[in-house]
C-alpha cells in the first residue's frame, strides 16, 4: 500500500491514528481523526490508488441515510476535490433499508451513472448503511471498490473491520451477502457528537467485549477512561476506537472468511445476546449492544460455573457495564424461550450449544462444555426479576 498515513497522531496536519488491516492484496488502512471533513478527500484518493480496482476511479456513489446526509454531502465534495464525481443516495434510516429492493435501487443508480468496475461506492453512516452499501459494492459489476466512513461507535469498532456485508430477507437477517473488504475506512470521531446516547452506550458494549476476549490491559484502560469516553474526549475516543480496530483486524486477518473458527472469538456474549434479542423481539426493549451486554455477564457466569474463572471477573465486567449505563440482566424474559432460541445458533455442532467463554481476562475459548443444567441456572439468574 502506497502513501500510507503515519501510524501515530501526527500533529503536523490534523491529529489522527492509522490502523493497518493486513489482508494480502486486500490490505487497507483505517484512519481515525477528530473533526477533519476535508481530509477524507486525500485519504479516499490514496486508498483507491493503493487498490488494484480503485486506481483511476473518477466516479463514486455515496450511500447514506437522512440522519447523516449533510456529512455525506461534505464527503462528496471532498471527493470532487480529488477529481471524483460523486452523487449522494440517501436511504431511509433503519434496518428496513437492508433489503434486496433497496440494493436494487442503488445498483440501478450506479447503472444510470454509467459506473464501470473502477467506480467506488462510499458508505457514510452506521451499520445498516455500511452493510447495504457494502453489498452493492460487492455485487455491482462483480465487485467495485468500497470506502467506508462509519458514523456510529458500533460501526466504527465492529462493522468497519471484517469485510462482512449483507442484506436481510424477511425470514432471516444478514442471510444474503458476501465478504468484500473496503479499500479504506475513514473514522471521524466528531460524528459521535450527534449520536443518541443510547447508541453510544451500545457501541461501548462491543468495546468492552474486545478487552475481555483479547486484551486485559485494554480492559483496564476502558475501566479507567469510561467517563472520558462517554464525554467523547477526542484523544480518548480515537485511542479506544483504534485499539478495537487493531484487535479485530488481528482476528480477521487470521480468519478472513470465517473458515478456521478463530473468528468465532468475536461472538463472546453473542450466543445468549442473540437469544435475548430474538426473544425480546428485534427493535424491542433490547438493542443489539444491550443484549450483548447482558449476554456477556451471563456467559461470564457460565465460565464461572465451569470453574474457568472466579466470580471477581464476572463482577468486574458487570460493574463496568453498569458504569457505562448498560443492562447486565434481562428480567422477565422466559428462560425456556431463550434456550430454544440458542439451539438455532450457527456455531452449534451436533446438537450441543457452543459458547465463547473467558479462560481469563483477555483470553476466550470456543466450547460446548456447559451442560443444560449449568445453562438453566445462569438463564434463571439472568431473567430473575430480583436482579
Amino acid at each position: 500500500m502506497t502513501d500510507r498515513p503515519p501510524d501515530q497522531d501526527d500533529q503536523a496536519t490534523s491529529p489522527g491514528l492509522t490502523v493497518p488491516v493486513p489482508l494480502g492484496d486486500r490490505s487497507y488502512a483505517i484512519r481515525i481523526v477528530s473533526g477533519d471533513p476535508i481530509g477524507f478527500g486525500p485519504f479516499a484518493r490514496s486508498s483507491l490508488d493503493a487498490s488494484r480496482a480503485g486506481r483511476g476511479c473518477r466516479v463514486a456513489l455515496v450511500v447514506t441515510d437522512a440522519n447523516v446526509a449533510a456529512l455525506a454531502s461534505r464527503h462528496a465534495e471532498a471527493l470532487a476535490g480529488q477529481g471524483i464525481a460523486a452523487e449522494v443516495a440517501a436511504v431511509p434510516p433503519g434496518e428496513g433499508s437492508k433489503s434486496l429492493d433497496q440494493a436494487a435501487v442503488l445498483l440501478d443508480r450506479l447503472i444510470a451513472m454509467k459506473a464501470d468496475r473502477h467506480a467506488a461506492v462510499v458508505a457514510v453512516g452506521g451499520g445498516v448503511v455500511g452493510d447495504l452499501a457494502g453489498f452493492v459494492a460487492a455485487t455491482y459489476a462483480r465487485g467495485v471498490p468500497l470506502l467506508m466512513a462509519p458514523t456510529t461507535l458500533l460501526a466504527q469498532v465492529d462493522s468497519s473491520v471484517g469485510g462482512k456485508v449483507a442484506v436481510n430477507r424477511p425470514a432471516a437477517k444478514n442471510i444474503v451477502g458476501a465478504f468484500h473488504q473496503p479499500v479504506g475506512v475513514w473514522i471521524d470521531t466528531d460524528s459521535l457528537e450527534s449520536l443518541p446516547p443510547r447508541e453510544l452506550r451500545c457501541g461501548m458494549a462491543e468495546v468492552v467485549k474486545y478487552g475481555v476476549i483479547l486484551d486485559a490491559s485494554f480492559f483496564d484502560e476502558v475501566e479507567r477512561t469510561a467517563d472520558a469516553m462517554l464525554a467523547l474526549e477526542p484523544g480518548v475516543v480515537r485511542r479506544v476506537v483504534a485499539r478495537c480496530c487493531e484487535l479485530k483486524a488481528e482476528v480477521v486477518s487470521q480468519d478472513e472468511r470465517e473458515q478456521t473458527g478463530l473468528r468465532a472469538v468475536l461472538n463472546f456474549g453473542h450466543t445468549i445476546g442473540h437469544a435475548i434479542e430474538a426473544v425480546a423481539g428485534y427493535g424491542g426493549p433490547f438493542q443489539h449492544g444491550e443484549a450483548v451486554s447482558a449476554g456477556m455477564v451471563a456467559e461470564a457466569r457460565l465460565a464461572e460455573r465451569l470453574g474457568w474463572i472466579d466470580d471477581s471477573l464476572a463482577d468486574r465486567l458487570s460493574n463496568l457495564l453498569r458504569l457505562l449505563g448498560l443492562p447486565t440482566s434481562a428480567p422477565g424474559l422466559d428462560p425456556d424461550a431463550l434456550l430454544d432460541a440458542m439451539t438455532l445458533d450457527k456455531k452449534n455442532r451436533g446438537g450441543r450449544i457452543r459458547f465463547v467463554l473467558p479462560r481469563r481476562l483477555g483470553l476466550v475459548e470456543l466450547t460446548d462444555a456447559p451442560t443444560e443444567a449449568d445453562l438453566r441456572v445462569v438463564l434463571g439468574e439472568l431473567t430473575s426479576p430480583a436482579v
Copy 2:
C-alpha cells in the same frame, strides 16, 4: 483435491473425461460423460468433500427450468443416494429468470430449508440457470458450495468454467454478480440430444472461437469432426467439450478475476458480436452464438486489414462457420448503429475501441490499432445485403 476421477476415458465404469481446473484452494474438476445419470451422485459427493465448505453437506437445492426438470429430478435422486436431501426448484425458462426477484425466491427457499453454509446449490440447465443459481450460491450465507450440471453446449464449453455468476437489471445485463467458483461440474453430453439444433449451432460458435484464439490443432480437429459433432457422436462430443474446458481453464487460472487483461482473449468475435446483438435487439434474429459467429468473421477481416493475417484464415474460418450452419454476416444492419454500440464496450480505454484479433491461427492479441476507416470498411462488408 481428493478422489479425483481419472484423466482419460475410463471404460471400467462409464466412459468419461476429467478436466481439472487449477485455482489453488478453489480448484475443482469437470467430469464429462455420456448417459450416466447415476454417476452424478458419487461425483457430487466427492466434489463436495474435496471442498472446504462442502464437507458434511446434507442439504441441497437443485435449480433448473421446466425444459430439463426431469433430469434435475434424477440428479436430486442421485444426491439422495449420497445422503443429501435435495429439493428441486424450477424457474421459468429464458433470460427473464436472471433477475434479483427470481434470486430472492430461491434464497427464501434455502431459508425455508434451514440451509446453513454447508448446504449446496446445484444448477441443472443452460446459462440462465447456471448464472442465476450461481448468484444465489455466491450470496446465500456469504457463499455456499455450487455444483453445476450444464445441459446446453454453450453452457458446457463456456459458463461452466470461469466462476462468473450474475443476474440482470432492466437497464444492464449481467451487472449484478460475483466470482464464485463451483466445487464441481458434471457434463453429460446426452443432454444435448434434446437441445434445439439452433442452440447446438450457437454453442459451436464458441467451440470454433477456442480454436482461433488458443489452439490451431484444435481448430483443425473441429474442421475434421464438424459433421460428427453435429450428429452428436458421443466420443467426439466428449473430446471437443473437454478440450474447450481445458483451454478456458488455462486462461481463467491465470486471470481468475479479470484483472490482468489475459481473460480478454475470450472476447474474440464479441466486440462486434455484442454490437450485432444490441442493434438487432436481444431475443431478436441473432442469438448470442450467431452474433459471435458473424462477429468473428468481421474481426478476422479487421486483422486482415491490419496485415496481421492473410485472407486465407478469414476464409477458412468463414467456411467452417457456414458448414456448421452459422451466419457469417449481418445483412441489413446499420453500420453506424453498430459503431455506436461498440463505443460502449467495457474493453475500451481512452475513447479507442479495443478488439481481440488473430495474429495467426491459435494466437490473438488485444489491440486498439484498427482505425475508424478500417472498421467502417469491415462493417460495410458485414452488413452488405450482397453477402
